[in-house]
């Protein structure tokens, strides 16, 4: 395995397009980002935010407790709509996770220097989103205590999962995804943890960060092996960006239900996932850069790039919708064409039209450079897209199920307060974890920023002293 990687091309520094604001040195970068963890006081905004989200975590705990005590009937699911909020939320959360992996793995492999400022918290976002997502397949089981029957483990009865079921593929896809994301995130943290250890002002911090840093000393040998490992991990994680949501798409596509049974689902789900993921990255990055004064690191260039990616994936998603409606009509199949009609004019028409507005109409504003460079507008837009993508899963799951083949079995779905509590609870869990993350770990990769300082020519030391060129 060669470690010889050609150095990254410096970005042309024109005003407003830089990936790092001018005037930063190695020290200032480290102080600014590490300082958030080490020296910054807990402000009331953070405390209030943490308190509110923690309250929502308690709500989630209560909702899960009640679910386990009373049974799945506390939710609004019924026959014919046997899947409800749980699966909607699962697909939504897992989709959000995709942006993190895309940024850290795909963009790394494609040598996009602008990923450096946002990969750390995007990876954390992935991890937390997958954690939220992972809850739902467990909770939605009728008999939660037997969840492990989904896992192929040796047993005396020689019983294995049924490998033709997409739900079993899901188990592999999601657990692999979570594991790889966790390792990737943690490996990426190690040099920064060492930096924090070295700058820590109390023994407790030194011990904690020291243990977590796994003895990192910044030796050349460390760096050499580290870069290799990081690239390898990126290579492992990259296919997951495509595979995980493809498999989630197959959960639906492998059914024969009109509205689910569609070959376009895997690619369209992947595009939708990255779409919603970047929306969530923006929803988090924009407040974050203001709160911790990170405008120098997360620049308008980053926002602009994220917005462009959103526009591209949004167009793929729009193509998916168009294709679904068109194929429903073109197939000449009464059931397929009914699904389209029912989505647009049936009892859930509001959800469909809101979805189309949020996911197709609203992102078209991103063609305008001004919008892409307006943090406020982007923030609003990203929230709308998050809502739209949640509605997309609602429309796919609920409208397909509630009116299928036999009109005698048609029904309706209403979420209960427990459904809403669970959704709100996972939002709370996600944000609560994020609040903790942004105060206790560096939200931006310090060592990679330092590389960026070097590459953009702002470094304080001469080029021959830079680390070996097998940095990216």
């Amino acid at each position: 395995m060669t470690t010889q990687v050609s150095p990254i091309r410096p970005s042309p520094v024109t005003p407003g397009t830089e990936v790092l604001a001018p005037g930063h040195s190695y020290g200032s970068v480290t102080d600014h980002i590490g300082g958030i963890v080490l020296w910054r006081r807990f402000g009331w905004i953070w405390l209030a935010g943490f308190a509110i989200t923690f309250l929502l975590v308690l709500v989630l705990t209560g909702a899960i407790f009640w679910l386990i005590v009373r049974g799945i009937g506390v939710w609004g699911v019924d026959i014919p709509v046997a899947w409800g909020f749980a699966i909607i939320n699962f697909v939504w959360w897992i989709g959000i996770g995709h942006a993190g992996t895309f940024i850290s793995a795909m963009l790394l492999l494609m040598r996009q220097d602008w990923r450096t400022s946002i990969n750390r918290f995007a990876e954390a976002m992935t991890l937390f989103a997958v954690a939220c997502a992972g809850l739902f397949p467990l909770l939605h089981l009728g008999r939660i205590k037997f969840f492990y029957w989904l896992i192929p483990y040796p047993n005396t009865m020689w019983l294995w999962p049924q490998f033709r079921s997409a739900l079993v593929w899901d188990v592999f896809a999601v657990s692999t995804y979570f594991t790889v994301s966790l390792i990737f995130w943690y490996v990426g943290l190690i040099p920064d943890l060492a930096s924090l250890r070295d700058r820590a002002d109390s023994r407790a911090k030194r011990v904690i960060f020291g243990v977590l840093a796994l003895g990192w000393r910044g030796a050349s040998r460390h760096w050499q092996r580290y870069q290799t490992a990081y690239l390898l991990l990126a290579g492992l994680a990259a296919p997951l960006v495509v595979s995980v949501h493809s498999i989630v798409g197959m959960d639906f596509a492998s059914a024969q239900l009109p509205g689910w049974h569609s070959t376009i689902f895997p690619p369209y789900f992947v595009a939708g996932a990255i779409f919603s993921g970047f929306a969530m990255v923006l929803s988090l990055a924009i407040p974050l850069r203001v709160a911790f004064k990170l405008q120098d690191f997360i620049t308008l260039r980053h926002l602009d790039n994220c917005a462009k990616l959103m526009l591209v994936t949004g167009l793929i998603v729009a193509y998916g919708y168009a294709s679904e409606f068109y194929m429903g009509w073109y197939s000449g199949n009464v059931f397929e064409s009914f699904v389209g009609l029912n989505r647009m004019t049936g009892p859930y028409a509001v959800a469909t039209w809101l979805m189309l507005t949020c996911n197709v109409v609203v992102p078209q504003a991103l063609w305008i450079r001004f919008v892409r460079r307006s943090p406020f507008l982007l923030f609003i837009l990203s929230l709308l897209i998050n809502v739209g993508m949640w509605l997309e899963r609602f429309v796919i799951i609920i409208t397909s199920l509630h009116r299928d083949f036999l009109p005698s079995s048609w029904g309706i779905y209403h979420p209960t307060r427990w459904d809403i509590a669970t959704l709100a609870g996972t939002l709370g869990l996600f944000l609560c974890l994020f609040f903790l993350f942004c105060r206790f770990l560096p939200v931006i990769s310090i060592f990679e920023m330092r590389e960026l300082v070097h590459q953009t020519g702002q470094g304080a030391h001469p080029p021959d002293r830079m680390e070996p060129a097998h940095a990216h």
Binding site: D78, S165, L257, P407
Partner: protein
């Protein structure tokens, strides 16, 4: 309590003795507290549902009843002494194998033969007795559900006096003392009130009573007694007679507001015979044609070839017009125009062309005049003796029950009686609104002489603490028909001995015991009473014991069917003045409820949760109106209205039902119960609305002059199916808020356009007419569209070998399915299917494994109605199987789609992927919640009770299949090596042919057939080879094992296609 209901009553107060201050100030709560504290006479030790019988108690009862094996009789209590379990097993009892006993269920006064399955002394399932003429092996919903009534935890459990626990001894002492005193003073003032009595033993007892107390007055009251039918015969022939129809001989049937397929005492027989003459096979040349003119939408009406919805009073005129056209003497011609005229003319012509093979059947709701005219028409057509016979009534004394009740009220009011015993029934609830029975009874029970002592004596034998119990001094728990010996006659006179299968669970007594007590007979056990009666009857005819055993075994007494009586020419009563049917007022039509009947099944949860025919309503009744009437009145489903008629009013919810005539409101009796159990009444007090409050004795079938007033409140009606989804009707959209382009088409006929067939229609119900079918037997197959013609292509290898028999399959004949729901309740009883309650049904979580879909097509005024029972299809290519992550639903080598409950973790993907949506999920622990009390004794031990979070569905009654399979394997083992080939196959096939699923066994029309499809001789295989066999959603290539036979109509060419006059 609803406005206008003036039957609110104070409870009977009793002697003014009190035991505590609470009792003095609030007797009701003190009484209930006392009842909780001291449930005397109650073997289960506790009046509450929560107090399930202990295991020990259950084993005691079980041991005792098994030891008696149903033949030793009922002692009055389960044994208290130490008992020991089987050391030597009772002869007939093999643990794990049920015993079947023949007995009979009294219903509406008449008997219907049943076979009862008993597991180790515990009756669990009712089937029809094939030897009984009123059953022919089939059951209706009431027979099926009566097993649950046996275990009803709300049944009264102890003798009470003024609501306080007492005991049988105290009651017996007081009654006998009173009667002794009476006897010495000339026996004046004693009255008994019973339901319609068709029990010979009881008849004899009453005769003895009259001998002992010459002045005793006997009243009969049965809300749904067939008074008009009897009065019609009285008018025509001068005496009350029962009319029997022989529909297997009939070619043309004209029903005049008669629901002979469901509401008649012989309906099961009629349904079977109707189906026999209606079935279509590839070589069928001719089938029965059914004309129905009716004022409701009945099960019979849904089967009609020509159906004419008319206002009820019109039926009299139609009958007159028919009689005139058919040459009945003394009838002047009536002129009609339009479709009415065409209907009458065509029906009359058809009848005329089929002398001796036509039949005119009038409905009980119609006045005697219609019945008399129908007799005259049938005579004129020479149908008497072939399709119609008259027999002597099966009742001991046929009575005009409403007149009898009126007389009793008069007697109570003017003091000619002072001792009243009410045996069975619930007259305080079921009395017509114009007969103030409840008020009279209340006053009667509470009347006192000057010194405060009670003047009168009232006692009541009843199954529940209900409205009547509330107003009586004494209450004695009544034994269920499976708990006490008796006998009963069917409407055709056939007599059965009712043999019990279990000791009374709650110290219940039978009416025979009470009468015996009055007679001061020494032998008071019903067993001895019934035997004594029959011993006396058969004094001269040989060995009684042998006869007794043979009779019990068979379930019917041979030779007891009444012989047809010869009647003279029917006299035609003078035409009564036809009530004016003004446009401004509406007609109110009363019918017994298709689920709770007259209210006596109101505490039966299976029946409450049974979707009513057409409306699919559960847990409620509703005022049914036609879409046009709804539109005109500005009403829609769930709107509350006040129904006002002749000064009485009641609030009711509205439900729109296509196919009803305009300007009528159909009200089903039996709801709005105020007492009588936790199921019968709602937590808020009442369930449904009480149509009895509007029901006048003079207008039992229908009344005119109804006005509707819309109320602001809404009423939550719950149906298992969203009803506008079920209808492909034009013209109701504007009222229902249904978007026309989202309305599914489901019914296809050869007239369906090609475009609609391929692109718009779901092709679920396939209908052809008989001429079309005869000229092109492939007509139904062609309705399958293009996809049906293409060979099935698949990427997967066809690895399953389905050639080795047995391979199970089912055929459901849409031509003969009448939508009576018997299969649903049978399935529920057989497969331990829980009920979930109104709230959970509203959330679409009902658990029925089998449903009957009803579809409407055509115009909302004159729709065609189709019933389609949908069990699991047992697809060979099952979409549910490959999506299950744990492999909990798999295919058996015999072609069954099997659920392994133990392996199910409840992802519910199988249900999502089931195109037929036949899978049911235990969202809560329904199976355990709904049977915490004695109801769990009903459970079929061969079927698992499913736990929370598990998917379930129709198993084709796999427990029955396995029972047969085990028998088959044993048989094969018994054979020698040489015999094993041919003979074994023959015997095996014979045994498999006897195998029936629960739904199949219950079906009155034989519409459901199950069996081995690899055996070419089996019925199911021959049915699947029929040209009009098709499968649901065949384009999905699921290859269902359940297939359907198309509906074949038989319209009169003169009236054209469409099933509508």
């Amino acid at each position: 309590m609803k406005q206008g209901d003036n039957r609110t009553s104070e409870p009977f107060e009793g002697d003014r003795l009190w035991r505590s201050l609470e009792e003095l100030t609030d007797p009701a709560s003190a009484a209930s507290a006392a009842l909780r504290e001291f449930p005397a006479d109650n073997p289960w030790r506790g009046p509450d549902r929560a107090d399930a019988p202990s295991r020990r108690r259950f084993l005691q009862v079980l041991g005792a009843s098994a030891a008696m094996a149903g033949l030793v009789g009922c002692s009055d209590r389960p044994v208290e002494e130490k008992i020991v379990p089987y050391v030597r097993q009772p002869e007939q009892v093999v643990p794990g194998r049920p015993l079947i006993f023949a007995t009979a269920m009294p219903f509406n006064g008449y008997g219907r033969g049943v076979l009862v399955e008993s597991h180790e002394g515990r009756p669990t399932k009712i089937e029809g007795n094939p030897d009984h003429p009123a059953s022919l092996g089939a059951t209706d919903v009431f027979m099926q559900a009566s097993i649950l009534s046996l275990y009803d935890p709300d049944r009264s459990k102890t003798v009470t006096r003024a609501g306080r626990p007492s005991h049988w001894g105290a009651f017996a002492t007081e009654l006998t003392q009173r009667l002794e005193a009476k006897r010495q003073s000339g026996s004046r003032g004693i009255a008994i009130l019973t339901g319609a009595v068709a029990s010979p033993t009881m008849g004899a007892q009453i005769k003895d009573l009259r001998r002992r107390f010459p002045e005793i007055a006997w009243y009969q009251y049965e809300p749904t007694a067939r008074v008009n039918t009897m009065a019609g015969a009285q008018a025509a022939f001068g005496r009350p007679l029962t009319t029997l129809y022989h529909l297997d001989h009939a070619r043309i049937i004209v029903s005049l507001d008669s629901d002979f397929l469901f509401e008649d005492p012989m309906s099961l027989r009629y349904a079977r015979h109707f189906a026999n003459a209606r079935r279509v096979r590839s070589d069928t040349r001719e089938i029965t044609r059914l004309y129905v003119a009716e004022s409701t939408l009945s099960i019979t009406g849904s089967m009609a070839d020509h159906r004419l919805p008319v206002r009820p009073a019109m039926i009299t005129q139609i009958t007159h017009a028919l009689a005139a056209r058919l040459g009945v003497a003394g009838i002047s011609k009536l002129q009609f125009s339009g479709e009415l005229d065409r209907f009458i003319a065509t029906a009359a012509d058809d009848l005329k062309q089929h002398p001796g093979t036509g039949v005119v059947i009038p409905g009980e709701a119609q006045p005697p005049e219609v019945h008399a005219l129908a007799h005259a028409i049938n005579q004129a057509l020479k149908n008497v003796g072939t399709t119609v016979t008259c027999v002597e009534p099966a009742e001991v004394e046929p009575t005009d029950v409403r007149q009898a009740l009126k007389k009793l009220v008069e007697a109570m009011e003017n003091g000619t009686i002072d001792t009243l015993l009410i045996l069975g029934g619930n007259p305080a609830y079921t009395a017509p609104a114009d007969i103030p029975f409840a008020q009279a009874l209340e006053k009667f029970s509470n009347a006192r002489v000057a010194d405060g002592r009670l003047t009168n004596f009232t006692a009541r034998l009843g199954s529940h603490d209900d409205e009547t119990t509330f107003l009586c001094q004494w209450h004695v728990p009544e034994a269920h028909y499976l708990e006490a010996w008796s006998d009963v006659r069917a409407a055709d006179g056939t007599t059965s001995i009712i043999q019990p299968l279990i000791l009374p669970l709650y110290a219940g007594r039978s009416a025979h015991e009470l009468l015996a007590l009055m007679l001061k007979e020494t032998a008071q056990s019903p067993y001895e009473l019934v035997r004594a009666h029959w011993r006396a009857q058969r004094r001269d005819s040989g060995d009684f014991e042998q006869w007794w055993l043979d009779t019990l075994k068979k379930g019917v007494i041979d030779g007891t069917a009444s012989a047809p009586v010869q009647v003279g020419a029917a006299k035609i009563p003078a035409p009564s003045s036809t009530p004016s049917t003004s446009v401004t007022s509406l007609d109110l039509i009363f019918r017994p409820d298709p689920c709770v009947w007259d209210g006596s099944f109101a505490n039966n949860a299976w029946l409450q949760e049974l979707p009513k025919p057409f409306t699919k309503l559960v847990w409620d009744n509703a005022a049914l109106i036609s879409p046009t009437t709804a539109h005109r009145q500005g009403l829609w489903d769930g709107d509350a209205v006040t129904l006002m008629i002749s000064g009485k009013q009641v609030d009711a919810p509205v439900r729109v039902l296509p196919g009803l005539p305009d300007d009528v409101v159909v009200a089903h009796l039996g709801y709005g119960r105020r007492r009588g159990g936790a199921v019968a009444t709602d937590e808020n007090g009442v369930r449904g609305f009480d149509a009895y409050a509007l029901w006048a004795s003079s207008t039992p079938g229908f009344a005119t002059g109804l006005t509707l007033q819309k109320r602001s409140r809404r009423w939550e009606l719950v149906a298992t199916r969203n009803h506008h989804a079920m209808s492909a009707l034009q013209g109701v959209d504007h009222v229902a808020g249904v978007k026309p382009h989202l309305k599914p088409d489901v019914v296809v006929t050869p007239e369906t356009s090609r475009d609609e067939l391929e692109l718009k229609n779901r092709r679920l119900v396939r209908v052809v007419s008989l001429p079309q079918f005869r000229s092109n037997p492939q007509a139904v197959r062609e309705l399958g569209g293009e996809s049906a013609k293409k060979p099935v292509l698949s990427l997967y290898p066809t690895s399953w070998d389905y050639s080795q028999g047995p391979q199970w399959g089912m055929s459901i004949d849409l031509q003969t399915c009448i939508g009576c729901n018997a299969c649903i309740v049978a399935c529920q009883a057989e497969n331990n299917i829980p009920i979930v309650g109104k709230f959970e049904v509203a959330r679409m979580r009902e658990m029925h494994w089998l449903r009957v879909d009803s579809y409407f097509s055509g115009s909302p005024d004159r729709p065609s109605v189709y019933h389609q029972p949908v069990p699991c299809m047992h697809c060979e290519n099952a979409p549910c199987e490959y999506v299950c992550p744990t492999g909990a639903t798999t295919h058996s080598t015999q072609g069954l789609n099997e659920m392994t409950y133990n392996r199910c973790i409840g992802t519910r993907y199988c249900s999502n992927n089931c195109p037929y949506k036949v899978r049911r999920f235990n969202f809560f622990a329904f199976g355990y919640q709904s049977s915490k009390g004695p109801e769990q004794l009903q459970k079929n031990p061969d079927v698992t009770v499913r736990t929370r979070g598990v998917m379930e569905k129709c198993s084709y009654c796999v427990q029955r299949i396995n029972r047969t399979r085990i028998e088959v394997e044993k048989t094969v083992l018994d054979l020698t090596e040489q015999q094993r080939t041919d003979e074994a196959r023959q015997r095996r096939q014979a045994m498999y042919n006897d195998l029936q699923t629960a739904c199949q066994q219950a079906c009155p029309t034989g519409a459901i057939v199950f069996g081995d499809i690899t055996d070419r001789q089996s019925t199911v295989a021959t049915l699947k080879a029929q040209p009009h066999d098709y499968t649901l959603l065949d384009e999905l290539t699921t290859r269902p094992r359940t297939s359907y036979l198309a509906r074949v109509t038989n319209p009169n060419p003169a009236l054209g296609e469409g099933g509508v006059a």
